[in-house]
């Protein structure tokens, strides 16, 4: 235990705090997300060690998710997708002049959500990791298959979701079938003249930074980079009006929403909006008096914000125990781990116990810092929503370049990858394909191939995927369940639409 204390110096805590602050600012600016904050700040971690780098990144993650509440309450624009339900009650409150009160309620709910999910992560991830250590290639392949079906079934349309995921896998296969993974080292899916550039395929981080950074800029540019916000008046309201008494009788809501957030966060690739929407509707269904919800009731804020901050711990569970990212931000975190030479998976926690405790410390500390920053300095932070885009966007492009260029110690092709995937990310979103499954497919595709081919090489029959072990059967049942769930939901909304049009 003493070893760990020696890893936690002043700069560690300062970096976590700095991360939380930058994250809050990113989250507070509409259009910038936590994922972008992490992606853009990655180059800063190249020079830091693993533990300091993690402190910064986890701070960014927690801050970025929380910051989204600021424009949600003040401007009725969710700063990150997961604060969508915060607008329902936050904005009406702000219009009544209770902006600060609404923000403080949200901050308290956020920190509770964050800490509850951190506790669940701490208890649950090692168990899941221990369980999954025994998995052979067959089960590992099925886990990836399950992850992809879950993501697809959460998409707007399952078929499109699966298609996007398969495109992601295809993109990940470009390059060699690596010898270090037991492949034959031959290249595929490209032209010979591309071999010098694409021998090892597209690097993960430039792809992610391109899709989340450059594509966002292109989407905004197409819209003409509206400067509409600067003219808008921000009503933060007078101080006061907040007391912890608001939370009296709301404990069930707080805890339930935190658990919902954590659970949804665990499902791979499911974005934050699903968590807060689910928590919000549950509060609406289950609370004794929900008549005020949507008109400015603190209980709505509590449900929404505790669920969306609980995502952070939840999304880290599959990442640290199975190596499967829970959302797009943790997907970028995978890149950060790879950069430091660490493979996340079942062996991560037992083999890197120090790092695991350090991460937990950083996560809890980032939540605490976030709380104090937002609770006491919210008035000043709220002003960043007014920073004009024409100042921000060029800086973001610049930081994306640094991140991509420096990742493999100065390869210009990685910078061009940014542009390729920036344009691709733009097109994907324009034609209605889904980004989340594509990214998860891209990240997991390489491993899926290795596990799949190895399983067949050792057993020589496709039937092994069904007969290997009871766990394999359970995994197939889960896959079937997620497909059935999605089909049922699809039919339900179809019938609903039919009814609406016929009326």
């Amino acid at each position: 235990m003493l070893d760990i204390l020696s890893l936690l110096d002043i700069s560690f805590f300062l970096l976590a705090a700095l991360g939380a602050l930058i994250g809050i600012i990113f989250g507070a600016i509409p259009g910038m997300t936590a994922t972008m904050a992490v992606a853009v700040c990655l180059p800063l971690t190249y020079a830091l060690g693993l533990h300091h780098g993690l402190a910064l990144l986890l701070g960014l993650y927690v801050g970025g998710i929380s910051g989204g509440m600021v424009p949600a309450v003040l401007l009725n624009i969710p700063g990150t997708p997961s604060s969508i339900t915060t607008t329902f009650d936050g904005y009406p409150m702000a219009q009544r002049g209770e902006g600060e009160r609404a923000l403080r309620v949200s901050v308290v709910a956020s920190v509770v959500g964050g800490l509850v999910s951190a506790a669940i992560l701490f208890l649950f991830a090692p168990l899941l990791a221990e369980f999954s250590i025994k998995f052979s290639y067959v089960e590992k392949f099925l886990i990836i298959l399950l992850a992809l079906t879950v993501i697809a079934s959460m998409s707007r349309n399952m078929l499109v979701g699966i298609f996007s995921g398969v495109i992601g896998i295809w993109l990940s296969l470009i390059g060699t079938y690596s010898i270090s993974d037991g492949g034959n080292g031959k290249t595929r899916l490209m032209f010979d003249f591309l071999e010098p550039y694409l021998f090892e395929g597209f690097s993960l981080l430039p792809v992610l930074i391109g899709i989340f950074g450059i594509a966002t800029i292109l989407l905004e540019a197409e819209d003409g980079v509206k400067s509409g916000l600067s003219g808008k008046e921000i009503k933060i309201g007078k101080g006061g009006g907040f007391s912890f008494g608001i939370f009296k009788g709301r404990l069930t809501n707080l805890v339930r929403s935190s658990f919902i957030g954590t659970f949804v966060g665990m499902l791979p690739g499911v974005g934050g909006s699903a968590a807060s929407v689910l928590a919000y509707t549950q509060e609406k269904n289950l609370s004794r008096d929900s008549s005020e919800m949507g008109k400015g009731a603190p209980q709505g804020l509590i449900a929404s914000e505790s669920a969306n901050n609980a995502l952070t711990g939840g999304a880290l569970i599959p990442l640290l125990s199975l190596g499967i990212p829970g959302d797009s931000t943790t997907a970028v975190l995978i890149g950060a781990f790879t950069l430091q030479g660490i493979q996340v998976g079942p062996l991560f926690i037992p083999e890197n116990a120090d790092t695991w405790y350090v991460m937990m410390t950083a996560l809890v500390f980032a939540n605490v810092v976030m709380f104090f920053l937002m609770f006491y300095a919210i008035k000043h932070i709220a002003k960043v929503v007014l920073v004009p885009q024409y100042i921000l966007y060029p800086i973001i492009v610049m930081m994306c370049v640094v991140g991509a260029y420096a990742i493999n110690y100065g390869i210009m092709f990685d910078v061009w990858t940014l542009l390729i995937f920036g344009v691709l990310g733009y097109l994907i979103q324009k034609v209605g394909l889904e980004v989340a499954p594509l990214i998860i497919g891209f990240i997991l595709g390489g491993q899926a191939e290795v596990y799949f081919v190895k399983s067949l090489e050792s057993f020589g029959t496709y039937s092994i995927f069904f007969t290997k072990s009871p766990i394999a059967v359970v995994l197939w049942l889960l896959i079937a369940a997620s497909v059935a769930f999605s089909v049922a939901m699809g039919l339900k909304s179809h019938v609903k639409r039919r009814l609406e049009t016929s009326q």
Binding site: G183, N184, V225, S227, Y405, Y462
Partner: protein, 147 residues
């Protein structure tokens, strides 16, 4: 029957071509899914476009052509020139620094809707300060390679 099923499912992978085994499956899967998406989603969508209920993405939407293509051109030029200028001063990161200053300023100007002296001056200061700061922290303090 039983043996027929077993032989149907049995498979042996030739090491020499094992790099093509999984991609081939993915190609079939992609092809199949694409056909399904085409029939179930794309064709109905085009039918809706023809009836005038929906509009085509990108082509049929209103877009700020100047800013969109301007951004693309600026970013491409930025990436290209960075390497060119960087080669003039190898291992210093000056390529990044100088080209970034120009790029940040031009992009700011392009994204501004109304140009007042005050705004242009702010953008100019930002264009000098931000890249210099990034260059100083990353290249000088952290010794990170920059073009």
């Amino acid at each position: 029957m039983e043996s027929g099923l077993t032989s149907l499912l049995s498979v042996s992978i030739d090491f020499e071509t094992s790099h093509l085994f999984f991609p081939r499956i993915i190609h079939w899967l992609m092809g199949g899914l694409f056909a399904l998406v085409l029939v179930l989603r794309v064709l109905p969508f085009f039918a809706a476009v023809r009836r005038g209920e929906r509009t085509l993405p990108i082509l049929g939407e209103s877009m700020d052509k100047f800013r969109f293509f301007g951004s693309l051109a600026l970013i491409a030029g930025y990436f290209y020139l960075m390497a060119v200028v960087g080669n003039l001063f190898p291992y210093t990161g000056y390529g990044f620094l100088f080209v970034s200053i120009v790029f940040v300023f031009l992009m700011s100007l392009m994204y501004m809707h109304t140009r007042t002296t005050r705004k242009v001056v702010t953008a100019a200061i930002n264009a000098i300060v931000a890249p210099s700061l990034a260059w100083f922290i990353l290249a000088k303090l952290f010794q990170i390679t920059l073009p």
